[in-house]
Symmetry: C2
């Protein structure tokens, strides 16, 4: 058994920070969604890069699977050790190593959460903008190429990670990128690692771009009679070059759930939630211009959240929408879908998805990051009703197929993990074979998060090219 073979070496590196306690194993076998409990054989709590390198070396010698673990907030079962082996929990590598205010850069360990980083930055006038909602770790966010409400303005993790330190499959340590804002200095290994879901290496340090706290912020909500009007308003806003910091869509069902959960009183119609960042004068101008567009597109109930606490309440409401929707139906579980399309197809994609959900007889409020063409349906199902499961999975797969037919992607921000592996060939065709060749080149034994991202190869390391 690979893990048993690795165990002595791992204990030499970790001492009692190699845990096999039942609670630890169970805690690292859970996922936020519907995947069955999949406990690993052990959990490691490294404190340094050298320890991570030692862990991977010991595992490489024994061909033992190694799976990274951040905050466990992923929605597609990324952290599940489906082929056994070791989970590496980065919670003890949680230090902000350096903040260089002039360069607007922070260097962090992978276990720092985005909220912890922003807390640390509060006196600097800077902040880290990527906001997936959950208080995920930055290592996990990089590994899954997370994004969220602010990507329309500040980009995803792909645009906000400048440099990485990575432990490779044989335990060697590399650095990718640099402190420079741009480079044309060879293959973009940083961007190859970001989004690779721990299958090419384990991230042990990140250099992140920071942003200046804007002088002024304005947030607003407005209702639209039809989804299509809301999307038209967004398209006009983007084409006008208005620099929205956030532009979110929620459908009528989401609004009703949020009203019930937070005691709000929004009309039960599709809404846009927007935020502008800038100087006092630019935000005022942008807000005025946006108000005119809303009028042109039949928007109603347009209202600005003037005070900081009103804005916080607004975005908390948005972030809590998932919980509000779950609470709207007792003892329900949720399957959260994710698709991303060119914005010209967004209204159609949302409407067809709503139809699919209605026809299946399920409830599934829809919400999303409309500026990116990215949305989610929160499909509510009875835990013990196998028919519900099947219907929900059918809807998720139909959404993915439609995303591809519309020129988009099966996942805008939730990643592949366990949940979307079966869709990779449809999305990538031959290019999936290229991913397999890269995986075989960098992890010939297939020990890094095995069972994810690529097809299993019977003889790991012999990469037929292209397959």
């Amino acid at each position: 058994m690979p893990f048993q073979e690795a165990q002595t070496g791992l204990q030499a590196v970790l001492g009692d920070r190699l845990s096999r306690s039942k609670s630890d194993l169970a805690q690292h076998g859970r996922s936020e969604t519907h995947f069955p409990l999949t406990p690993p054989e052990a959990v490691a709590y490294p404190e340094t890069t050298a320890e991570v390198a030692g862990i991977v070396k010991a595992c490489a010698e024994a061909a033992c699977p190694v799976v990274g673990w951040g905050a466990g907030t992923s929605l597609e079962g990324h952290g599940l050790a489906v082929q056994g082996g070791l989970v590496v929990d980065f919670s003890r590598m949680d230090r902000v190593l350096e903040v260089r205010a002039e360069d607007m850069v922070a260097v962090v360990q992978p276990g720092v959460t985005r909220e912890a980083l922003n807390h640390e930055l509060r006196a600097t006038g800077l902040f880290f903008p990527v906001d997936p909602g959950a208080n995920a770790t930055l290592g996990g966010m990089a590994s899954t190429r997370a994004s969220g409400t602010t990507a329309v303005r500040y980009g995803t993790m792909a645009e906000n990670v400048l440099a990485l330190e990575v432990v490779l499959a044989d335990g060697s340590v590399i650095r990718t990128g640099s402190g420079a804002r741009k480079a044309s200095n060879g293959y973009d290994l940083t961007r190859l690692m970001v989004g690779s879901e721990g299958t090419l290496g384990l991230i042990t340090e990140l250099t992140l771009k920071l942003q200046g706290q804007p002088e002024a912020v304005a947030a607003a909500t407005c209702a639209f009679p039809r989804m299509g009007d809301a999307v038209d308003c967004v398209i006009a806003t983007i084409q006008a070059g208005l620099p929205m910091a956030r532009i979110e869509f929620v459908d009528g069902a989401t609004v009703e759930a949020v009203n019930a959960y937070s005691g709000a009183e929004f009309p039960p119609m599709p809404h846009l939630l927007v935020e502008f960042h800038g100087s006092e004068s630019s935000v005022a101008g942008d807000a005025r211009f946006f108000g005119e567009l809303v009028n042109d597109m039949n928007g109603q109930d347009f209202s600005w959240a003037e005070r900081a606490e009103d804005r916080t309440a607004l975005w908390q409401m948005r972030h809590h929408a998932y919980w509000a929707i779950l609470a709207s139906r007792k003892s329900a579980k949720a399957i959260v879908t994710d698709m991303c399309v060119p914005i010209s197809r967004l209204a159609e994609a949302v409407e067809l998805t709503a139809q699919d959900i209605a026809e299946a007889g399920l409830e599934g409020p829809i919400l999303g990051h409309v500026g990116d063409g990215n949305f989610h349906a929160i499909l509510l199902i009875d835990k013990d009703n196998p028919e519900h499961w099947q219907k929900a999975k059918r809807i998720a797969d139909t959404m993915a197929e439609r995303a591809l037919a519309f020129g988009g992607t099966i996942t805008g921000e939730h990643g592949i993990g366990m949940g979307k592996l079966h869709l990779m060939e449809a999305e990538h065709g031959l290019a999936w074979g290229v991913m397999e060749a890269l995986k075989a080149a960098l992890d010939p034994q297939g020990i890094l998060n095995p069972g994810k991202m690529v097809r299993a190869r019977p003889n790991g390391g012999n990469s037929p090219f292209p397959p």
Copy 2:
């Protein structure tokens, strides 16, 4: 001889669009800078992706080198067939295939130049922002991860290519990315190909992000007594979150050359050239705020280019600075250096570089994209003076070493090509070995632009991992 073996197959694909004329060979053996004439054995002029695939297949069977060619404007000899073989000239694949205004996306063939694309877009209210100065092809710009004056606002080619069609080393064709604005759908093959300088595949189609023409544009110049003041002004501007579309630095020597060349009358001091894009009100506000910062930082001679033609003249002057500098000294040749550092080290890096140049007794005006920490010295040398060559190369290498010591990179935008291969190990260390493993996985015979980017491997395809 590999080319001779491939020739029959190539002729079957290309007919008389396979050229071996002396002028064609010479034209595709030149570079913009100091590399010796290196004619290939033949030049191919494909018109379709299928032809490119056929070309690469024929070359793969004969292990014949294949080197892509755009407009030939690269500064590091990227397109030189240093191991013989075939140059693939994309000038006949120069069609804009599709403009989707609602999605702000254009689909183009690789031989379309950036100016041709923007000409085609002029009636749409949209534009493609990446601007390296030269009228390069978009395929070439993607291959070298080009950037330029607008990267500070709109990003480099890495941020502006959404999707690619690529012919791989065995002639198979893949698609990377999609029409979606973001994705977490597997390894980021688009970003792996962008900047790979034709060593992993040949780009045959690009899907590019477009931007809305801003409602208002304001450009300005201002002089500073010291370089350090200019950089402090830029840092303050960035930290305040002012959305500059361009912020360029030129030193006093560049200003003198430009004055002589264009008949301008700027004071011979360091200058910043800036541009803001936005709504009328936001640009006015940003400009006012910037004016205050300039005042705080000892700026002088602050003046706005109010009219569109004045702005065009301003940026043409900047784009022609290279020619102005060359013209400032009769029969001189130029070696153009390129380095990129964290902005906190920029003033020091520029000042030390100016010292190095003065100590070597050379002339070398300095200019750059100061918002990105990226700058160039245009080293003027006598063509026939070998001592000049040596001194210039010493300065270029010192700049590269300093870039690394300052936490930056050896090249912000000019790429590796022939000119910086000897610096790759210093920049990347073990990570260069990872690049070699990727190259071996995707191009096991080493036929794609051989002699570039990675060390030659005696037994191509047997990738020791990691080296």
